[in-house]
């Protein structure tokens, strides 16, 4: 007989599992306020807000933050245009090899980041493209497209194919159909896909490592900062910023797509 209530043992195990997943994140927040700057010791000897001021005044934080924002914004934009077009094509036409093409589109997100990174890096050097902001953006766009595509294609499937024909039947040209019928129905899915893509790009490390030149994005800056003993809590302050920049869009995306079937690309 399946029991209605979980046994106490299972409850404890589940609680412990969740705690193991999330307590370390709380620790990161906590260490942003510690007075000890050389090592992470628990419990913190004292609490202070000064690291926020220190982080604000550190000149080496701003360029990586700016670069990360730039990369995330541009790759999201590229992904939104290309991802929507691909979704439209895949949802509205039937052609030979359609399933295979669909798999190829999804592949970048299933492929380990190191493979994507290596492949892009060797491809860039083969055709002699110097590493720059644009190579990072291209790298990020490969997986951002998948996120946007997944969201858009789900909405396309839900959208009654007849509404586009109905619009044309009533005299609308292609642009009118796009603006009055397609976009309003696709809007929230695109916004959600875009936000997830932005969040994903903003904290990406692996592909960035392979495709960046001298520049470092914010996550890369954090990685290099962790091995230095100087002003450690500053990294934690930045971590809080990263959480805010990635968690809030994901939360918003969740609420935007909650009403419909939700197929945001999870995790990478």
């Amino acid at each position: 007989m399946p029991s209605e209530r979980a046994s106490p043992g299972l409850k404890i195990a589940a609680g412990a599992g969740l705690a193991f997943l999330h307590l370390p994140i709380l620790l990161i927040f906590l260490y942003a306020f510690t007075t000890e700057e050389k090592s992470y010791q628990f419990p913190p000897p004292g609490l202070t807000l000064k690291w926020f001021a220190v982080a604000w005044n550190r000149a080496d934080i701003w360029p990586p933050l700016w670069l990360s924002l730039q990369v995330a914004a541009v790759s999201t934009l590229i992904a939104m245009v290309l991802g929507t077009l691909v979704a439209a094509a895949m949802a509205q036409s039937r052609f030979f090899g359609r399933e295979q093409v669909s798999l190829l589109i999804l592949l970048p997100i299933a492929l380990p980041g190191v493979i994507t990174g290596m492949a892009l890096r060797s491809a860039f050097s083969v055709v002699d493209i110097p590493f720059s902001v644009w190579t990072i953006i291209l790298g990020h766009a490969t997986f951002c497209i998948v996120i946007v595509y997944n969201n858009a294609v789900a909405r396309f499937r839900r959208l009654h194919g007849g509404v586009l024909e109905a619009s044309a039947d009533l005299g609308a040209n292609g642009f009118q159909t796009f603006g009055y019928v397609l976009l309003p129905n696709l809007g929230s899915a695109l916004l959600a896909g875009g936000m997830l893509a932005f969040a994903l790009s903003f904290d990406e490390v692996i592909v960035t490592t392979f495709t960046a030149g001298q520049q470092s994005t914010l996550p890369i800056w954090m990685l290099t900062e962790l091995v230095r003993p100087r002003q450690r809590p500053v990294t934690n302050v930045v971590a809080i910023v990263v959480v805010a920049m990635t968690f809030l869009p994901i939360l918003a995306a969740y609420y935007l797509t909650r009403d419909g079937e939700h197929t945001a690309g999870a995790g990478k």
Binding site: H160, G162, V163, E165, A166, S167, A168, D169, L170, G171, A172, N173, Q176, Y180, V181, P184, N185
Partner: protein, 331 residues
């Protein structure tokens, strides 16, 4: 000699092939202006493709389509003076009922006030006054279908195409809508082209109809023509509950050696006759009974009026009928 009035729709040897599939195979068809025309057929017979050829969502692989005398081969759907009531209605989910109905005027750039007035006028026509501010999702199936109808009529098309518009409604609503559509067509005086797989719907509503089979028109004519004088076994089978007699049996019953159809109402049972059969089923219908005789491999239904003796199942009887009741078919 006065020229014929221009037909609303004319197909000249129109074909539409999808790869090897001949969805529409060299169809000639004329639909008179102002007619209530039904395209009847099983699924996959080409009737919906024909409708989509008229609306412009399919292009003919061969042949020409004329709408009100104009060759529309190069005219896209948004420039054709026909509108469609889609199967499942295809209402815009993000717009109100009024915005849905007024859509055709909005894309033409008609000002807001005129749009609103005209939309209200059409909502009144389909008996949906006061529903303008609702969303399609808040309406019942029957109401959605009325919105679809109002939306398709707002551009005042000369021909209205209806793709199985009643298919999603329950029986009672469907019958009510049949009467209403018929009345609406009379009132507007425009051509209705109606696709359905329901023979009763086609027979009761249409002025004339085409029966489709495998991409071709099996028969075209008035409902009475098609029902009482089916041209082929397929039409007899699909359209009515007529008896279909194979050549041998037709001959044994006094006709030529050809396939023939025979309506049960014309058949009586007698103790003696040229052919004997065994009663295999009896169904009481109120005003009479339907009795099925099994003659070898063939079943022949007869109609026994109330008051006449009803034979027992398993007993023997002979079918008799007036020679004129036998309708010989082409094949």
């Amino acid at each position: 000699m006065t020229p014929d009035p221009t037909p609303a729709v004319e197909f000249r040897a129109v074909s539409r092939h999808f790869g090897a599939v001949r969805a529409v195979d060299s169809v000639d068809l004329t639909i008179a202006e102002g007619a209530f025309f039904a395209m009847l057929g099983p699924s996959g017979s080409g009737k919906t493709t024909c409708l989509r050829l008229i609306s412009g969502f399919e292009k003919p692989s061969a042949g020409h389509i004329l709408i009100h005398g104009q060759d529309v081969s190069d005219v896209p759907p948004n420039r054709r003076n026909v509108n469609t009531v889609f199967q499942d209605y295809a209402l815009f989910p993000h717009m109100t009922v009024r915005e849905n109905v007024a859509y055709g005027l909005m894309v033409k750039g008609v000002d807001r006030r005129r749009r609103r007035d005209k939309a209200e006028e059409l909502l009144a026509l389909v008996k949906l006054q006061g529903y303008g501010d609702r969303r399609p999702g808040q309406l019942s199936g029957g109401q959605r279908q009325r919105v679809a109808l109002a939306r398709a009529l707002i551009n005042e098309p000369r021909a209205l195409l209806l793709d199985e518009p009643l298919g999603a409604l329950d029986l009672k609503l469907r019958e009510a809508m049949q009467d209403e559509l018929k009345a609406l067509q009379k009132r507007l005086g425009i051509t209705f082209v109606f696709v359905t797989h329901d023979q009763h719907e086609a027979l009761s509503m249409a002025d004339s109809l085409a029966v489709f089979n495998e991409g071709k028109i099996a028969q075209i004519g008035t409902p009475e023509d098609v029902y009482t004088r089916p041209k082929s076994r397929f039409v007899a089978d699909f359209v009515g509950s007529s008896n279909v007699l194979p050549p041998k049996l037709t001959r044994a019953l006094g006709g030529p050696a050809a396939w023939a159809s025979l309506r049960p109402e014309s058949v009586r049972l007698a103790a003696v006759g040229p052919v004997r059969g065994t009663v295999s089923a009896v169904r009481y219908l109120g005003a009479g009974s339907r009795v099925v005789l099994r003659i070898g491999e063939v079943e022949v239904a007869a109609y026994v009026p109330a008051g006449d003796p009803i034979p027992d199942i398993g007993s023997e009887a002979s079918p008799v009928f007036a020679p004129a009741a036998l309708h010989v078919m082409e094949g």
